[in-house]
């Protein structure tokens, strides 16, 4: 068997993990604040096409990334208004966002059909470092956003567990009444982190478009990555550092069907092979998401529950 393709496959796993890290981090911040946003898939898709259109019309990849991220925050804003301000059912609100986002993305994507991004985000080269066997392609031949996503995850971890606002954020997800008693606004904290979460998801969607996909394939552009990201948050126990490893693991299952196809390993039919990432996610979820395990992992205790001040 050709060893080289497996090195490339591992490098691909790290690359694909970028969207997973960013989208799951976005969901993580949102959930840490106590808000459940199931709309990740819809946000990813809409920000992906927005970044395409912005990059295509301006010729600037960076403008594409910025527009895509802002669109992500904008859609998350809808969720924030519904679930925090109007106290709507967060599960149905998230689903509505997926349906709205999918329709909107396909509507906006009409002019993008059959086109490709002219310039994509390119991997960096670190000279001789990039040529080290094995380590070179995996660690030293990624693009700037991939490195940035890992840095963002590390900084997020420090922020969450080593800073005052991080403590307030975690407290808002666990015990909003105490945060309220401290004189902080639960609603404002929840809205802020839902928006920030959307921004990260939007960046993930834009990267997926401008570095990975390069062409608009309607809903198949994201193909369920948003749902895998949601499962990844559980898998990582709501901790950013674990999320990096989980993302690479799930990233591996996402690219495996393509690698096997390229290697012409066909003992499993390709359509069945495509089930693999979802199957792996499903198994991981079932193994880890029993309520007792979830609590041990560190699920925010007030996740999905609107905060109403007790005014008796």
């Amino acid at each position: 068997m050709n060893g080289n393709i497996w090195v490339l496959a591992s490098a691909d796993s790290v690359a694909i993990a970028t969207t997973l890290i960013l989208a799951a981090l976005g969901a993580l911040f949102t959930e840490r604040a106590g808000v459940l946003n199931l709309g990740i898939e819809g946000i990813l898709l809409t920000s992906a096409i927005s970044s395409f259109l912005a990059a295509d019309s301006s010729g600037s990849i960076w403008l594409g990334l910025i527009v895509g991220s802002l669109v992500g925050a904008l859609l998350a804003g809808i969720h924030a208004v519904l679930s925090v301000v109007l106290r709507a059912n967060q599960i149905v609100a998230g689903l509505a966002l997926v349906i709205f986002g999918t329709g909107l993305a396909n509507f906006l994507g009409k002019p993008a059909e059959g086109k490709t991004v002219t310039t994509i985000i390119k991997p960096l080269s670190f000279g001789p470092l990039s040529d080290i066997p094995l380590v070179g392609p995996i660690v030293f031949r990624q693009d700037p956003i991939t490195y940035a996503s890992v840095v963002i995850a590390i900084v997020s971890s420090l922020y969450l567990f080593r800073s005052r606002p991080g403590l307030e954020l975690r407290a808002t997800g666990d015990d909003p009444a105490t945060v309220d008693a401290q004189g902080l606004s639960v609603a404002s904290i929840r809205i802020r982190y839902t928006l920030f979460g959307g921004l990260l998801v939007g960046l993930g969607g834009s990267w997926l478009m401008l570095a990975q996909s390069a062409a608009w394939h309607q809903a198949a552009t994201t193909n369920g990555v948003g749902w895998i990201a949601l499962a990844l948050v559980v898998f990582a126990g709501w901790r950013p550092m674990r999320l990096i490893f989980g993302a690479i693991l799930f990233g591996f299952t996402l690219q495996l069907p393509f690698t096997l196809q390229a290697e012409q390993i066909t003992f499993i039919p390709s359509a069945l092979m495509q089930m693999l990432p979802y199957l792996a996610t499903l198994i991981a979820l079932i193994a880890l998401s029993r309520p007792s395990t979830r609590n041990k992992l560190g699920a925010p205790k007030s996740l999905g529950i609107p905060f109403v001040r007790d005014e008796r």
Binding site: N89, V92, L95, F107, T281
Partner: protein, 365 residues
């Protein structure tokens, strides 16, 4: 001293009747306004687009039968979603259960169709489809009722797996479901005994009336039977249900299986007419996801789902034709669905709470 304005949510003890009608209605209007803004921004005429959409779906006689025909499957997925949602079980994998229903129905038709007469085959196709749909929710239902694992993401992930299964059955060489020696892979048509023809050569099939009947029966089951009462108690207060000696795990299991079966039935209905074969095109149509919107808009009321299902079918069948007749993308229809649901959810707050602004005097420090 500036006196800030505070928005106060006051829980209503009783919901005014008119709001229950007004909120969904205004949601539709608001969504159409948002859609119009997007249409204007992209250079389409909203008035023309909407009038094409609605007139096709609701005014011409061909349009009306198309709408009712399409509503058959949408009511199935709508009651499927509502049946689970009413017990706070979020089966959002109706889409995948629908695919399985289509696979199951096509299998029954192809395997048994030549040996059995129509009056036996139709129920068999529907039953096998429903069972296949139920089988697709078996795992999420089991882990939900036994381990407490949330059903939301598990049911959804299974939809992606079901989509791969459909593709496998259609595109893998020598598959049971496809025509042999055909130039391009295509599902094999079920024998005549396993399909019906539309009423008066329209796309409205007799299955429509069966589905309406099932919706009404469910309405009765939920309102009048002991089983429906049990569901009500568990969703209102799991603790009270526990003390009353209700086995919540078993009810969870059965409610989810029935929900899966109803989506599966939707897939089998498509085999009887108009598809008649396992068609991978189903993956792009999103009938299962639409069921979630239909159920939420009808606030899980089974008789209201008939109305919202037909309404959505009108929007959809018009939207499907837009694709052909004008340059407008069909996706405006899906976008409107999402927008309607978003507005309905926001409007729900006005139904539940009396919202008003008050000026509060802040104590001087």
């Amino acid at each position: 001293m500036r006196s800030p304005i505070r928005i106060v949510f006051e829980q209503r003890s009783e919901t005014p009747k008119h709001l229950s009608v007004l909120v969904p209605l205004l949601s539709v209007v608001a969504a159409l306004v948002v859609g119009a803004l997007f249409l204007l921004a992209t250079g389409y005429s909203p008035l023309e687009t909407y009038s094409n959409m609605l007139s096709d779906g609701f005014t011409s006689s061909r349009g009306i039968t198309d709408t009712l025909g399409l509503s058959t499957v949408l009511i199935c997925t709508g009651i499927s979603a509502a049946f689970a949602f009413q017990m706070n079980l979020y089966n959002i994998g109706g889409e995948g259960q629908l695919y399985l229903g289509m696979i199951g129905g096509a299998w029954a038709g192809l395997a048994l169709g030549n040996q059995l007469p129509t009056f036996v085959m139709i129920p068999v196709v529907l039953l096998v489809g429903a069972l296949a749909g139920a089988s697709w929710i078996l795992l999420p239902a089991f882990v939900r009722s036994r381990l407490g694992t949330s059903e939301i993401v598990t049911t959804l992930l299974l939809t992606y797996i079901a989509a791969s299964l459909v593709k496998h059955f259609v595109y893998s060489p020598g598959s049971f479901f496809v025509t042999k020696n055909s130039a391009f892979p295509q599902g094999r048509l079920v024998p005549d005994s396993a399909s019906l023809s539309g009423i008066g050569d329209t796309s409205l099939y007799p299955t429509f009336f069966l589905v309406i009947l099932i919706a009404l029966v469910l309405f009765w089951v939920v309102k009048k039977t002991e089983y429906g009462y049990r569901i009500q108690v568990i969703s209102d207060s799991p603790r009270a249900a526990h003390y009353a000696g209700i086995n919540a795990n078993r009810t969870t299991m059965s409610v989810m299986l029935i929900s899966g079966a109803l989506s599966g039935l939707g897939g089998a209905v498509l085999i009887i007419g108009p598809f008649g074969r396992l068609d991978p095109g189903i993956i792009l149509l999103g009938y299962g996801y639409a069921g979630i919107v239909i159920a939420a808009l009808a606030r899980n009321n089974f008789s209201a789902i008939i109305v919202s299902g037909i309404l959505f079918a009108g929007l959809r069948s018009g939207g499907d034709k837009l694709q052909i007749s004008t340059d407008t993308p069909i996706h405006i229809g899906v976008m409107l669905q999402g927008a309607i649901l978003l507005f309905a959810l926001g409007g729900e707050a006005f139904r539940r709470y009396h919202i008003h602004a008050v000026r509060t005097e802040r104590a001087t420090q």
